[in-house]
């Protein structure tokens, strides 16, 4: 049985992958969002409140938190329909910061077993005890995380191959041309936003229950831009891209003891250098396309 530290690292990779996939989906459909951490955060708080204060089962809380996140994402998507590019990106950033700051004002506590439990502004939200109350081991929870991640990946792969996925990619390359094909971008942009928000939300609720203590400061721009960077490094040509980016940062860099404490310096420098040579990541569309052609020929032989 792998030790707890390793399991925690693996869990984190799984959960952060969800927010990375959230940013990736939007990136593919043509919008750079610096604000996916808002949905991660909304769902973290909502899901944690549901299990800890209302006694709901985890899976219901998961759906609840993620749906709330998706709704918020849809709202932002609608509001930002008319703006694009940098204006859109900054708007998502502004929204995410509004959410983070509002969490400082969120105070909702209930007395449970003589203690006041619940989110309390800057003090955060602790005692998210679902894992302990239900005797779930670290290993089992890691499996749960990866189960969810696997389902999300499956859905994303199905979307990628579907007409919807093709529409997203068309929007990402040329929204005007997409209109010329007879497609109204509005419904697809909002759909993309809501799916992305939902995925980010899944990560958020899982995260809250894994770390058992959350506070507003966690859901800051650092998280958001990391989420974006993972896809950009791993590659925008495939859903595995963001996962590769996360694995590089958390997995590899975390485990190389020599650079403990200098991880940001190393990761930051690495990102900057990689983006010079591979602006769309390791597995960008062209490389994926070439790999697929190669595989096709190889299997035919």
């Amino acid at each position: 049985m792998p030790n707890d530290y390793l399991l925690t690292v693996i869990s984190n990779i799984g959960m952060i992958s969800l927010i990375a996939l959230s940013a990736y989906l939007l990136l593919i459909s043509g919008e750079i969002s610096f604000g996916q951490q808002a949905y991660f955060g909304i769902s973290a708080y909502a899901g944690a409140i549901a299990t800890t204060l209302w006694g709901w089962p985890l899976w219901v809380a998961l759906l609840f938190g993620s749906s709330l996140a998706a709704l918020a994402a849809g709202l932002v998507g609608l509001l930002t329909l008319r703006i694009s590019g940098l204006y859109f990106s900054i708007a998502t950033l502004a929204f995410a910061e509004m959410i983070r700051l509002s969490l400082f004002k969120l105070s909702y506590q209930i007395e449970i077993d003589g203690e006041l439990i619940g989110p309390n502004g800057a003090e955060g939200f602790g005692e998210i005890r679902w894992i302990f109350d239900n005797d779930v081991s670290v290993f089992e929870y890691t499996l749960l995380i990866y189960g969810v991640l696997f389902l999300v990946l499956l859905c994303l792969v199905l979307i990628e191959r579907s007409r919807l996925g093709m529409i997203f990619r068309m929007l990402g390359q040329d929204p005007l041309l997409t209109r010329i094909q007879g497609l109204n971008p509005v419904r697809y942009k909002v759909t993309a936003a809501m799916i992305a928000g939902f995925i980010g939300g899944l990560g958020g609720t899982l995260y809250a229950h894994s770390v058992t203590y959350i506070e507003p400061q966690i859901f800051n721009i650092m998280l958001g831009v990391h989420a974006l960077a993972y896809g950009l490094i791993g590659g925008l040509g495939t859903v595995l891209g963001p996962l590769i980016g996360v694995a590089i940062d958390i997995g590899f860099l975390e485990s190389v003891r020599a650079i403990q404490g200098y991880r940001m310096i190393a990761f930051g420098g690495l990102v900057a250098i990689m983006l010079i040579f591979m602006p769309r990541g390791i597995l960008d569309e062209n490389r994926v396309y070439r790999l697929k052609s190669f595989a096709r020929r190889w299997f035919r032989a």
Partner: protein, 299 residues
């Protein structure tokens, strides 16, 4: 009512600092059509260097200013070469994410250099309260305001009365045409970053000395305030940066007075969000947005 006006005065005073930061963003955006997210952290490193000198070498304020500016410029050049000059022209996202990655890097460097939470920063100005009728103004804020005006005037002179300034404006307006005129846009980018870093270093110095301390949060704070102020005024517009800075200052001062620090920060972002949705070009820049739209629709 007096409170409101007092807040507005405070807001305008402090907003001048925001205006300087916004100018830094807007100049780089004007030339590059990209955002430099490392702007705040580079100023912070400059300020840290200044503080270090102040604590360990000499309390000479002029020296501190010089060191702050020089280090800011040095870091600015590092960022420019790595994140902007080296990255492909059309990879705008990559540039910005790259500058953010370097931001993370710089923040960590700062943390290692000066691990304490706050450090004293030389107070350049004597601190007294000046009363004008029913209103009170802090002298260091007035000094900052006046110095900001002076810097703005110098910047204006540079951009409109010198040849390098002309080249910079040309590249901002039309990079391709400028190349045909023999202007090396790579050099201009370098120049822009240098000018912006000097501005930033000075802005940082003014803001921090009015506060008389520097903390590791300054990098993030400066980037955000500058960004918000720029967007409020209009991305790429110089007068916009100034107006945006003042607007931000006034709104924040009132929000703080009536609601506290968290409400102040929420108001800043709310204002930005609303502006982007309703009038993305900002107070001044509707023309820029229209231009961008037209360029995009040129089929």
């Amino acid at each position: 009512m007096t409170d409101f006006l007092q807040n507005c005065i405070d807001g305008v005073m402090f907003g001048s600092g925001y205006a300087l930061l916004a100018l830094g963003f807007t100049l780089v955006f004007g030339v590059m059509k990209r955002l430099n997210l490392s702007f705040g952290p580079s100023i912070m490193l400059g300020a840290y260097a200044g503080t270090w000198v102040y604590l360990n070498i000499s309390q000479n304020v002029l020296l501190v200013v010089l060191v702050t500016v020089i280090i800011t410029v040095a870091v600015g050049i590092y960022v420019e070469r790595l994140c902007f000059w080296a990255v492909r022209r059309d990879a705008t996202i990559a540039s910005m994410v790259s500058s953010f990655a370097i931001w993370m890097q710089l923040e960590e460097v700062a943390m290692h250099l000066l691990p304490e939470r706050t450090y004293p920063f030389p107070a350049f100005f004597a601190s007294t309260l000046i009363e004008i009728g029913p209103f009170v103004v802090r002298s260091e804020h007035i000094s900052m305001f006046l110095l900001t005006l002076a810097l703005l005037a110098l910047l204006h002179l540079f951009l409109y009365r010198t040849r390098p300034g002309l080249a910079l404006r040309a590249v901002s307006d039309n990079p391709l045409a400028s190349t045909y005129m023999g202007i090396n846009s790579s050099n201009i980018l370098f120049l822009a970053f240098a000018v912006v870093s000097v501005l930033g270093g000075l802005a940082g110095f003014l803001i921090l000395s009015a506060d008389s301390q520097v903390t590791p949060f300054f990098g993030l704070w400066a980037t955000f305030k500058g960004l918000i102020a720029m967007m409020l005024g209009g991305m790429g517009s110089l007068p916009g940066a100034i107006l945006g800075g003042l607007l931000l200052g006034v709104v924040e001062a009132n929000a703080f007075w009536y609601g506290g620090p968290v409400i102040r920060d929420i108001s800043a972002y709310l204002l930005l969000f609303m502006m982007l949705i309703v009038r993305p070009g900002g107070l001044v820049g509707q023309r820029i947005v229209a231009q961008q739209q037209a360029a995009y629709e040129r089929v």
